[in-house]
Amino acid sequence: MTPLLQITNLRASIDDREILKGIDLTVNPGEVHAIMGPNGSGKSTLASVLAGREDYTVTGGSVLFQGKELLELSPEERSREGLFLAFQYPVEIPGVSTANFVKTAVNEVRKHRGEEPLEPAAFLALMRERMALVEMDPSFLQRSLNEGFSGGEKKRNEIFQMAMLDPVVAVLDETDSGLDIDALRIVASGVNALRRPNNATVVITHYQRLLDHIVPDFVHVLWNGRIVRSGDKSLALELEQRGYDWLKQEASVEA
C-alpha cells in the first residue's frame, strides 16, 4: 500500500532560520493524524511547507504524495492533486462571492482531472448539500468570500470548501482556534463526514479538545522542529494533563 503522504527528514527555514529540523511522518489511507505541540514548535510551518507557501525554503528531505514528489509541484498543482489546507486565518476576498470562488476552484480541479465543468444547476445543488454538512446557510454563497464572516463562519467555510474539493489529504491548521464549543462540534462533524477509507486527515492543533470530536489514530508531538514523540490518542490526553514541559525536557536530554 502506497502511503498518501510520506515525509522524510523534511527541513525548512525562513529568513535563514531553520524551523523544521528533520520531520518524518507517514500517513496511510483512512488514517487521522494529529500533530500537537507548543507554540513556535513548527506546526503551522509544516502545514505551510506542505501547501507550498513560498516564504519558506525547503533545505532538505522529501515529501511523497501518493508516491509523487510534492515539493516539485506549485501550490496550485498540489491542490489539484488532492492536497487541501484548511487555513488558520482564511483570507477575505471582497467582491468575489463564495459561490464564484468555490466554482472556480472546483472547476480548476476538475480540469486537472480531465473532467468537464459542472453544470450550474448541479453545482448549486452540490454546494447546498455540502454546506449542510457544516450547517452553513446557503445565503453565504452570495456573500463575498469570508468578508464580514465571524471566526466560526470562516472555519466552517474552510470545511465547506474541503467538502467541495474532496481532497486526498486534508491538513487542518489550528482549525479549532477561536471556535466556541458548538462551532467546534459542527466543524468536527463536517470533517468526520468526509472521512473515507481512501483519504486521510492531518489535524494540527494546540489543544486536546478538538480530538474529542475528531478522534485521531496517531498523535505526534512536534517540538523545536522535530517530532519528539508519537503515540495513539492517549498521548493527547496525557499532554492535556501534563503539558509539554516533560517532553521538552526529555527531548533536550536526548539531543
Binding site: P75, E76, S79, I93, G95, F101, T104, A105, L165
Partner: protein, 480 residues
C-alpha cells in the same frame, strides 16, 4: 510560479488586438487649416451653418493651449502631423451584413465581436464606425417605428439638421477646452441619438469604434438627446490595432436629458495602450458631459478603461433640473507604462440633486493612475447630496495611484461624503487562491473582477462579460 514571475508576465503581456485591416482608404494630406475643414464639411454635404460652426471652433482652437494640469507626461503632439480625414474609398449602401466588406467582417471576427452574433444574441443595434465613416447601421427601421433616431451624426445633419443645430455644442461648448475646440473643428463622424417623449428605447444602442488608418486622428462626435420621460441605454466599446506612432483620439460626447428622462452611457475602452516600453499607443483626450436639463432626470456614466497610452477623460454631469441624479461608475486599469488621469465632475445646480461617484483604479507595471474629480454645489442647489468612493488597487510596487478630489460647496444644506481606500493584492490572498487550485494569473483576474464588481454590475449583461474578460486580458498574459 512566484509572484514576481507572474508580475513580469503581466507586465510583458502584449496587446492582443494588434492588427491592421487592409481596407482601401481615402486620405487627406497631413495638417490642419481652413481648407481642410472646408474639405471635411464638403465631403459630408454639410449645411453652411455647420461649416461656419466648425470654422469658428477652429479659430478658437488656434488661440488655445493644450492643458498641462493632468498628471500625465508625454512628448508634445504635432497637430500638423496628423491626417484629419480618412474614409473608406467605397462608401457602401448596405441592407444586410452580406454586403459588408469581408475585410471589415474579418476585423470584427478577430476582435471577437462578430456583428451577426452581436445582433442576434444580444439584441444590439450596432452602428459601426470604422475610421471616420459609418459603414453599417442596423435596426434603423425598427427604431424608426418608435420615432427613435439612431444614426451617424453626419446623416443626422442631412435628415434632422434642426435637431443637431439645436443641441450640438450646448453641453460642451466649442471653446470648452483645447480638445473640444479641435474636435468641433474637424470631427469626422459619430453617433446621433434622439429618443422622443415617453419612449423607452427597447434595445441597447451600441457603437463599436475602431481606429484603423495609420496616422489618422479620430475625432468622434456623439450627441444623445432623451426627450421628456424617455429612456435610453447606450454602449460604446472600442479596440484598436497595434501601431508604432502615437495616435490622437479626441472625442466629444454630449448628453441631454429632459424632464424625467434617463440616459445610461456605458463605455468599454480598449484602445492600443502602447507596447511594454510605452511605445505607440493611443492618446485618449476625451470630453464627455451630460446635462440633466429637466426635473427628475438622470444621467449615468459607466466606464471600463483598460486601453490607451494616455487617458484624459472626465465624464461629467450638470445637475440642472430639480431632483435630478448624476452617476459615475469607473474602473480604470493601467499597466506597463500607461498613464490615466480620469474622473468626473458633478455640478449641482438644481434643488435636491444627487450624485454618486464610484471610482476603482487598478495600477500595475510602472503605470500611473490618477482619479481627479470635482463635486461642485452652487449656492442655489438647496439640498444637494453627493457620495464619492475612490478606491485604488496596486499590483506590484512600481506603479502609482493618485487621487485628486476637489470639493466646492457653496450651499450649507449640502451633504457631501468622500471615502477612499488604497489596497494591494497581497501574497496571502494569492496563496489562498493557489491552495484552492487557482493559479496566480486566474487569481489576479478573480480578485480584480471582485474589486471592480460594483462598477461591472452597472453594465448591461453582455457588456459586463466582455468587460470582465478585458480586465483579465489587460492584466495578464492570457485569459483563463
Amino acid at each position: 510560479m512566484d509572484q514576481q514571475t507572474v508580475l513580469d508576465e503581466v507586465v510583458s503581456s502584449e496587446y492582443k488586438y494588434g492588427f491592421t485591416s487592409n481596407i482601401e482608404q481615402e486620405l487627406l494630406p497631413k495638417g490642419l487649416n481652413h481648407d481642410v475643414i472646408r474639405f471635411i464639411s464638403a465631403k459630408k454635404n454639410e449645411p453652411e451653418w455647420m461649416l461656419e460652426w466648425r470654422l469658428k471652433a477652429y479659430e478658437q482652437w488656434l488661440t488655445m493651449k493644450e492643458p498641462t494640469w493632468p498628471n500625465v507626461d508625454y512628448p508634445p503632439v504635432d497637430f500638423q502631423d496628423i491626417i484629419y480625414w480618412a474614409a473608406p474609398k467605397k462608401k457602401p449602401e448596405l441592407n444586410s451584413l452580406d454586403e459588408v466588406d469581408p475585410e471589415i467582417l474579418a476585423t470584427f471576427e478577430k476582435l471577437g465581436i462578430p456583428l451577426e452574433e452581436q445582433k442576434v444574441l444580444a439584441g444590439v443595434a450596432v452602428d459601426v464606425v470604422l475610421d471616420s465613416v459609418s459603414v453599417k447601421t442596423t435596426f434603423q427601421e425598427k427604431l424608426a417605428e418608435l420615432g427613435i433616431i439612431f444614426c451617424p451624426i453626419s446623416e443626422a445633419l442631412e435628415t434632422h439638421p434642426e435637431l443637431v443645430r439645436k443641441y450640438i455644442g450646448t453641453v460642451v461648448p466649442t471653446n470648452d477646452n483645447f480638445y473640444s475646440a479641435l474636435n468641433s473643428a474637424v470631427f469626422s463622424d459619430g453617433s446621433f441619438v434622439y429618443i422622443p417623449k415617453g419612449v423607452r428605447c427597447p434595445i441597447e444602442l451600441s457603437t463599436y469604434f475602431r481606429i484603423n488608418a495609420r496616422n489618422t486622428g479620430q475625432f468622434e462626435r456623439t450627441l444623445i438627446i432623451a426627450d421628456e420621460g424617455s429612456y435610453v441605454s447606450y454602449l460604446e466599446g472600442c479596440t484598436a490595432p497595434q501601431r508604432d506612432e502615437n495616435q490622437l483620439h479626441a472625442a466629444v460626447v454630449e448628453l441631454i436629458a429632459h424632464d424625467r428622462a434617463e440616459i445610461k452611457y456605458s463605455t468599454v475602452q480598449n484602445w492600443f495602450p502602447g507596447d511594454k516600453d510605452g511605445k505607440g499607443g493611443i492618446y485618449n483626450f476625451v470630453t464627455k458631459r451630460g446635462i440633466c436639463a429637466g426635473v427628475d432626470s438622470k444621467i449615468s456614466w459607466t466606464q471600463v478603461e483598460t486601453g490607451s497610452a494616455i487617458t484624459w477623460k472626465y465624464p461629467s454631469v450638470i445637475l440642472k433640473g430639480d431632483n435630478s441624479i448624476g452617476e459615475f461608475y469607473s474602473v480604470a486599469v493601467t499597466n506597463n507604462k500607461q498613464q490615466a488621469d480620469t474622473g468626473t465632475k458633478m455640478i449641482h445646480i438644481g434643488r435636491n440633486t444627487r450624485s454618486r461617484i464610484v471610482s476603482k483604479g487598478i495600477s500595475a507595471g510602472v503605470s500611473q493612475n490618477s482619479y481627479r474629480g470635482l463635486v461642485k454645489v452652487l449656492p442655489v442647489a438647496q439640498g444637494a447630496r453627493n457620495f464619492s468612493q475612490c478606491d485604488s488597487l496596486l499590483i506590484g510596487d512600481a506603479c502609482g495611484a493618485h487621487t485628486f478630489p476637489y470639493l466646492e460647496v457653496a450651499n450649507s444644506s449640502a451633504i457631501v461624503e468622500h471615502e477612499a481606500t488604497t489596497s494591494k493584492i497581497g501574497e496571502d490572498m494569492l496563496f489562498y487562491c493557489n491552495q484552492r487550485g487557482i493559479d496566480t494569473e486566474a487569481a489576479v483576474a478573480l480578485i480584480v473582477n471582485g474589486y471592480a464588481r460594483e462598477v461591472l454590475n452597472q453594465l448591461p449583461m453582455e457588456f459586463a462579460v466582455e468587460a470582465q474578460k478585458l480586465l483579465a486580458i489587460s492584466l495578464e498574459g492570457s485569459v483563463g
